[in-house]
């Protein structure tokens, strides 16, 4: 009779054995190496690093393999690893104007100081599945063989000679006094950390941006899209600048007292520009939304900057007619590890609660008083 509730331990062990087998697949097929994932599935690695909030190519590649390519599961693995790492300090804020850009586009000015750089993008490819997309001979950059550490993927980016410093496109608008001042975010040590403190409302801009940066790409994209369809925006937004490239990370160890270069990270930065003409409160002009994501992920950075703007708007206008204007709705539901866990916990046993419901329903049926209003 106990068959129904016994045997949990054995079942779990068997299930873990089965998943290991499934993950390996047909053993006559060669196993994928971490290097292959880091190099040839680089955008996937970028996404896992961004949502995992950990810039670690090796950890992300290992997680993707361990999760059989399930990105949300891979993000979860990276998060569970990240949470055990010690937070030893804050870096100096990275200077994105000094980014070594591999791609930079603007939708608002044809010619921008520093120039537009198309760089690697699928934007203008024809999406035709080809038998072998790399049928052409391998591009010249194949220096990194299997001995090179995976983050050497950077070596593959063709970096044409670019100005040392790319001025920000919105600085043009700023100089003309056409931009509303953004909320200032405390730099460095004063910055809050979403992974060390719970989200509370009203939420500061730096926590809002952190939540969006690690938020689920699909959720962030979908809700940003809803803005564009009129569920929160009443006019077309513009892409001020979208930039992908590498920035140097500098850190001041307390025992040294001066800052040192500790590495390079790949980032996607986006600034969206919206017209603002709430004449009652301030002069007509433009306001911006900001997005910054680990790796190359333009879809995410653009969506993030649209949401950054619309979530800030609540403070300015006090209106939240649509979900994508409501910080609590967006920020409480954008995390894939949280949402995936809670939706899927329904697979856990709920015998006891369901039993309580059954008892309630049965007792109710026994009641002789006919339902009011119900036939």
């Amino acid at each position: 009779m106990y068959v129904a509730v016994k045997g949990g331990e054995k079942a779990v062990k068997n299930s873990q054995r089965l998943v290991a087998k499934k993950r390996r697949g047909d053993i006559s097929v060669q196993k994928i190496s971490m290097d292959q994932i880091a190099n040839q599935l680089g955008l996937g690695v970028d996404r896992v690093m961004a949502e995992g909030s950990l810039y670690d190519v090796t950890a992300a590649a290992m997680a993707i393999q361990q999760a059989q390519g399930d990105m949300t599961e891979a993000v979860f693995l990276v998060r569970a690893f990240r949470t055990t790492l010690k937070r030893f300090g804050n870096s100096i804020p990275v200077q994105t104007t000094k980014m070594t850009a591999i791609r930079r586009v603007s939708g608002i000015f044809k010619d921008i100081p520093g120039g537009q750089i198309l760089g690697p993008t699928y934007d203008y490819t024809h999406r035709l599945i080809e038998p072998d997309p790399d049928h052409a001979p391998d591009p010249p950059c194949d220096r990194h063989t299997d001995t090179a550490p995976p983050d050497k993927t950077a070596a593959c980016d063709d970096i044409s000679p670019l100005p040392e410093e790319l001025p920000r496109v919105i600085d043009i608008l700023q100089a003309q006094g056409l931009l509303q001042q953004d909320e200032t975010t405390p730099p460095g040590d004063a910055a809050e950390d979403l992974t060390r403190q719970p989200l509370a409302f009203p939420v500061s801009r730096n926590l809002r941006l952190q939540a969006l940066a690690r938020g689920d790409e699909g959720f962030v994209l979908g809700t940003a899209y809803s803005l564009q369809r009129g569920f929160g925006l009443d006019r077309h937004p513009f892409l001020g600048e979208l930039k992908v490239g590498y920035v140097a990370v500098r850190y001041t160890p307390p025992e040294l007292g001066f800052d040192i270069h500790i590495g390079r990270i790949k980032l996607t930065e986006c600034v969206m520009v919206n017209r603002q003409d709430d004449a009652v409160r301030k002069a007509a002009g433009f306001e911006t939304g900001y997005g910054l994501v680990f790796g190359q992920n333009e879809r995410k950075a653009m969506s993030m900057s649209l949401l950054d703007r619309s979530l800030a708007a609540r403070k300015n206008t006090g209106k939240t007619d649509y979900p994508a204007q409501d910080p609590e709705f967006i920020l409480s539901h954008c995390d894939s590890v949280e949402s995936s866990g809670f939706v899927q916990h329904l697979k856990l046993p709920h015998y006891v609660d369901f039993q309580s419901e059954l008892v309630f329903i049965r007792n109710r049926r026994k009641d002789h008083t006919p339902d009011k209003g119900n036939p």
Binding site: M1, Y2, A4, V5, K6, G7, G8, E9, A11, V12, T58, A59, M62, F76, R79, A80, F81, R82, T83, T84, K86, T195, R196, Q197, P198, L199, A200, F201, P202, E328, S332, V337, E338, S340, G341, F342, V343, Q344, H345, L348, P349, H350, Y351, V352, D353, Q355, S356, E357, L358, V359, F360, N363, R364, D367, T369, K372
Partner: protein, 279 residues
């Protein structure tokens, strides 16, 4: 990648932070204390809040019991025990009396708890007002001003519609005549066990990042009305295994025609009744 983890997984700083939140929660019974919930290697919804509480309070001498749906052997209980065996190497027990810490999902053991024991509840939705007012910014104020009218209206509407209060589990309670609290999704059958219990009851919500507590010997009263008093689930039969008539019974379908028998949800209690104590 480093492959060693601290005792009970979490680093000591995180444990301290959680312990400070627990102390605050005990000082303000039933109040939800926001805390910097950490990401755990188990999914949200699987008991990350409870696991963090246990990880923060457990020591090498503790004896841990983990139950899910009242049973020591359901898959999730097994998995959480395996986690603490692996990361803390502590002793696991199925004996309610032997345990110093009991982590639970959805039940309180039938065997009465004793002074010195700690119950750790896994909580999915810590906010009892969540389905009345989904916005945290609002519910915080409602608790602050003890503005609980809408909860009573909801219970009243149940009576008007169904002739009785329709909440069967996660039945709201008022703690120490002040805060309205979710007892977690235990059946309302278990609510009276919280009232003036000699044990410490800690509640952890990992995803929502809230900790709250019921200290020992604290009043925990299930909400009701004078003319519609709080009532417990009742079964017509007894447990088919041990014959108990004083425990929460699960229904087991035994064949394709839908024949049902009832057995104790608390497996340890049931084994004891049959004179077959847990190992």
């Amino acid at each position: 990648m480093p492959l060693s983890y601290n005792f009970a997984y979490l680093d000591e700083q995180s444990k301290k932070m959680i312990r400070r939140s627990i102390l605050k929660a005990i000082a303000i019974p039933g109040f939800q204390v926001p805390f910097g919930g950490r990401e755990m290697p188990l999914p949200y919804g699987w008991g990350t809040g409870g696991i963090q509480l246990t990880a923060a309070i457990i020591g090498p001498d503790d004896r841990l019991k983990v139950i899910d749906q009242g049973s020591d052997d359901t898959v999730n209980a097994i998995s959480i025990k395996a986690f603490f065996k692996k990361t803390a190497g502590i002793a696991i027990t199925e004996e309610t009396k032997e345990a110093t810490i009991i982590q639970t999902r959805h039940r309180i053991p039938e065997t009465p708890l004793q002074k010195g024991q700690i119950m750790v509840f896994q909580v999915p939705i810590p906010e009892p007002l969540q389905f009345i007012e989904p916005k945290k910014s609002q519910t915080v104020k409602m608790h602050g001003f003890e503005e609980y009218g809408s909860m009573h209206v909801k219970l009243y509407e149940d009576i008007a519609k169904f002739g009785r209060i329709a909440t069967a589990f996660d039945y709201p309670v008022q703690v120490h005549q002040r805060y309205i609290m979710s007892p977690s999704p235990i059946p309302k059958y278990d609510n009276p066990k919280l009232h003036r219990s000699p044990a410490v009851h800690l509640f952890g919500a990992g995803r929502e990042k809230r900790i709250y507590a019921v200290p020992p010997y604290t009043d925990v009263v299930s909400l009701d009305f004078e003319d519609y008093p709080f009532e417990l689930e009742k079964w017509d039969g007894a447990c088919a295994v041990c014959g108990s008539t004083d425990s929460f019974l699960d229904e087991i379908i035994t064949d394709d025609t839908g024949t049902r028998v009832f057995i104790c949800s608390d497996t340890e209690y049931c084994k004891k009744n049959t004179g077959n104590p847990a190992p």
